[in-house]
């Protein structure tokens, strides 16, 4: 028996049925992926319903209406919720009627305004996809990368430096170079805790958190008003990057439409991660190490090497979320760049069940939630914090699917059908 057969035999014996993981033919259940989607979908709907209740119960006019009778109160509650969620959906996806009438009218300004919400959702989703992929790839390889936020900061610093400091390059060289800088910066920052885990057994959760702090303070030090990378106008921001490093925006002359090529890069990255995980030997090794490192070692795989590679790739992906935001949207890097992407990414990986395409869907959802919330704030005066509540509820329901199953009377999953997203501490 060669190594490969041993490995596959072991991996099958381990039975870690991640979605899309090697499943013997014939066992594949029809509509299996739909069932996989059922709990997340119900989780989202339930979270939105609870969010609606929060909106209604924090609105003064609802309480006043209840003073005038129960029926009036309920009516007012529904009108408040309707107004808020109306603004929410039109902020996330646009108003379909308006989009169609704008398209018919053929006027550029009208079309731009009608599709703006949708474009905004795609724009916000872009960094989410990269960061979500980073954490998902880590989960697949059995490492919990809480350091995506720190990798984001380091990649941001390196990207913006290459973006503003190198002058006179043509865009065809400068832009890839700036992106590469983010990949390398994030990748190296991710590889450090990977190496520490592989060589010394130090837990990556601790080390990625600590490296986050180092990254935050380093960014503060560099971008402080008097810092080495400060613009020099008394503000804690970096200089603007050269136009040759801009990621092309689809509507270059419209300041409000900032959706850019980064979105397609993110989709390509998702496809690439899928290909890597499910179509290459390295991906197989990553998944096997993630499923059972002892078995992987027995099969002749280098667990240490695989962990370092997994963390480096994860860091590189997290880095790209910073690079695309800086090169495509902001064009500079501010101090106090508290993105939160790195932490939302954990939720995205959970929601997407650590599958690249699941992460893309989850990111689009989070993008829509944030775009919608921003509009809801403006039109219905509902605080943006509501998104955090809804996001949090979704994660709780995903993490504890039993709640959803009980609530909607779903049948228990067949043994082995359930997905194990993260194994416990010290499991590796």
């Amino acid at each position: 028996m060669d190594d490969k057969t041993v490995a596959s035999a072991i991996a099958n014996a381990v039975q870690q049925p991640k979605s899309g993981a090697p499943t013997p033919k014939g066992q594949h259940r029809r509509g299996g992926w739909l069932r996989q989607l059922l709990v997340p979908l119900l989780a989202i709907i339930t979270a939105l319903i609870l969010g609606a209740l929060v909106i209604a119960f924090t609105d003064e006019s609802v309480f006043q209406a209840f003073g005038g009778g129960f029926g009036r109160g309920v009516g007012q509650a529904f009108s408040v919720i309707g107004r808020a969620y109306g603004a929410f959906f039109s902020g996330a996806f646009g108003n379909p009627v308006r989009i169609i009438s704008a398209l018919i009218s053929g006027q550029g300004a009208q079309i731009r305004r009608a599709i703006y919400p949708l474009m905004e959702t795609l724009r916000i989703s872009t960094p989410y996809i990269f960061a979500g992929l980073a954490v998902a790839l880590g989960f697949q390889g059995g490492v919990f990368n809480i350091g995506a936020e720190g990798q984001y900061f380091i990649a941001g610093l390196v990207t913006v430096f290459v973006g503003y400091a190198i002058k006179g390059l043509p865009a065809i060289v400068h832009l890839p170079l700036a992106l590469l800088a983010g990949v390398v910066g994030g990748g190296l920052w991710g590889a450090i805790p990977g190496y520490l885990k592989a060589k010394t057994g130090a837990h990556e959760v601790i080390n990625t958190i600590m490296l986050n702090y180092i990254a935050f303070r380093l960014a503060e030090f560099m971008l402080d008003a008097n810092g080495l990378m400060a613009r020099g106008d008394g503000r804690p921001v970096s200089p603007e990057i050269q136009p040759s490093a801009y990621l092309p925006q689809f509507f270059p002359n419209q300041v409000e439409l900032r959706v850019n090529v980064g979105f397609f890069l993110a989709l390509a990255a998702a496809a690439l991660v899928w290909w890597l995980l499910y179509k290459t030997t390295l991906g197989y090794e990553i998944r096997t190490v993630g499923a059972n490192p002892r078995a992987a070692r027995y099969a002749g795989m280098s667990v240490a090497r695989t962990i370092v590679i997994t963390m480096a790739l994860s860091g590189a992906l997290a880095g790209l979320s910073a690079s695309t935001d800086i090169l495509g949207v902001l064009h500079y890097m501010p101090n106090a760049f508290s993105s939160g992407y790195g932490f939302d990414a954990i939720a995205l990986a959970l929601l997407g069940k650590s599958h690249p395409f699941g992460v893309v869907l989850a990111s689009l959802l989070f993008g829509a939630l944030r775009a919608g919330a921003q509009n809801m704030q403006g039109i219905a005066q509902v605080p943006v914090d509501l998104t955090s509540i809804v996001q949090g509820l979704i994660i709780v329901f995903i993490a504890a699917p039993e709640i959803i199953r009980k609530l909607y009377r779903l049948r228990q999953p067949v043994e082995g059908e359930e997905l194990v997203t993260v194994r416990g501490w010290g499991g590796a």
């Binding site: 959906f89 008394g234 503000r235 039109i379």
Partner: protein, 350 residues
């Protein structure tokens, strides 16, 4: 039953989806929108004060006002876009972190007026009014008071990060102490800032109350008995340290700390006020007046004279009537220019 209930709620959700975009029914009033920085509307500082200015405008002038909170750097443009799309007449952006986005939207929308708190553009932008503050004038007076009340002959101050809008407080403070020394022949020492050396104590952030407490304790140990903290919420830690010591005073900045941090009221000597609300209201007044012909790139500078900066009430009994009279002279002197509150000189010596 439970199942039916949840299905019912889901149906309502879908119904609300259909009811999209029924908002937007606008009245005829003058519309002002404010975009916060990441501190949020309840920061008890810039955003809260800016919003107070708009609320005053709603009360006094009957304008329509609203605000949008930003959670991320990329939200600034999103929120400004929303106001532009709602045909807002005046968009107030709070804080210099919004300077880049404000500039690009102002250029793209020349018919919309903007005002930005704590920043001014060089060269100026026609439809943006920068709201800046000569806080050295007010902190000069605070320094004068500090020098008058100290028993140890040492007063202190520190900042969050060494940026101009922070250093200006400390420059004025030191100048005020020196002026007191000159008038009274005393030798009160300033810890934490040295204008001549252009250097001082900075904790490096605007968040950590622990840093504030530690810095406060160090100053107290060195013998200072008045401490001014120019670091936002960091100062709360300092105030706590001062309160624990019991024999010292604290000077707040930006807002009146006896209101925003009232639990420290017993040790708050006074507060150096940066009246952002006054500046915003002034901007709304001039921009909404009939016959308004645009800002023309002119910026607003808050001074003692126009009440854009000021001093909160001094703790009762802390200073004698004589000092109170002298303080009035100092104020007049700064307003008519016979007393140099320090910042311009400091800038020209840089």
């Amino acid at each position: 039953m439970r199942k039916h209930l949840s299905i019912g709620l889901a149906a309502i959700l879908l119904a609300s989806l259909v009811m999209t975009a029924c908002g937007g029914g606008a009245a005829s009033g003058y519309k002002v929108g404010m975009v916060t920085d990441m501190g949020g509307i309840d920061d008890k500082s810039f955003n809260a004060l800016g919003w107070k200015g708009i609320e005053d405008g709603i009360k006094e002038l009957g304008i329509e006002g609203s605000y949008l909170e930003s959670q991320q750097q990329t939200d600034y443009a999103t929120n400004i876009t929303q106001y532009v799309n709602q045909e807002t007449d005046l968009i107030v952006t709070v804080g210099y972190m919004l300077a880049d986005d404000t500039a690009s939207f102002a250029a793209a929308n020349p018919d919309v007026n903007f005002a930005i708190v704590d920043f001014s553009y060089a060269p100026p932008i026609d439809n943006v009014r920068g709201l800046t503050f000569a806080t050295d004038q007010a902190s000069f007076m605070a320094g004068y008071i500090a020098a008058a009340v100290t028993k140890t002959g040492k007063v202190a101050c520190f900042g969050g990060i060494n940026i101009p809008s922070v250093a200006i407080f400390m420059v004025g403070y030191e100048a005020g102490v020196k002026y007191y020394n000159e008038k009274h022949g005393t030798n009160v020492e300033v810890l934490g800032w040295d204008t001549a050396a252009n250097n001082g104590v900075f904790v490096g952030n605007f968040e950590s109350t622990d840093d504030g407490r530690r810095t406060g304790e160090e100053f107290l140990a060195e013998g200072a008995d008045v401490i001014m903290a120019v670091a936002g919420p960091v100062g709360q830690g300092t105030a706590e340290a001062v309160q624990a010591a019991g024999n010292a005073w604290f000077i707040g900045v930006d807002a009146d700390w006896t209101v925003t941090a009232s639990k420290y009221s017993d040790i708050i000597l006074t507060s150096v006020l940066k009246n952002i609300d006054v500046a915003v209201l002034d901007t709304i007044k001039s921009a909404s007046a009939s016959g308004f012909a645009g800002f023309g790139g002119e910026s607003y500078v808050g001074t003692l004279a126009n009440n854009g900066v000021g001093l909160a009430d001094v703790a009762s009994g802390a200073i004698s009537n004589d000092i109170e009279d002298e303080l009035e002279d100092v104020r007049q002197g700064i307003i008519d220019g016979t007393i140099d509150s320090g910042w311009e000189t400091y800038l020209s010596n840089l």
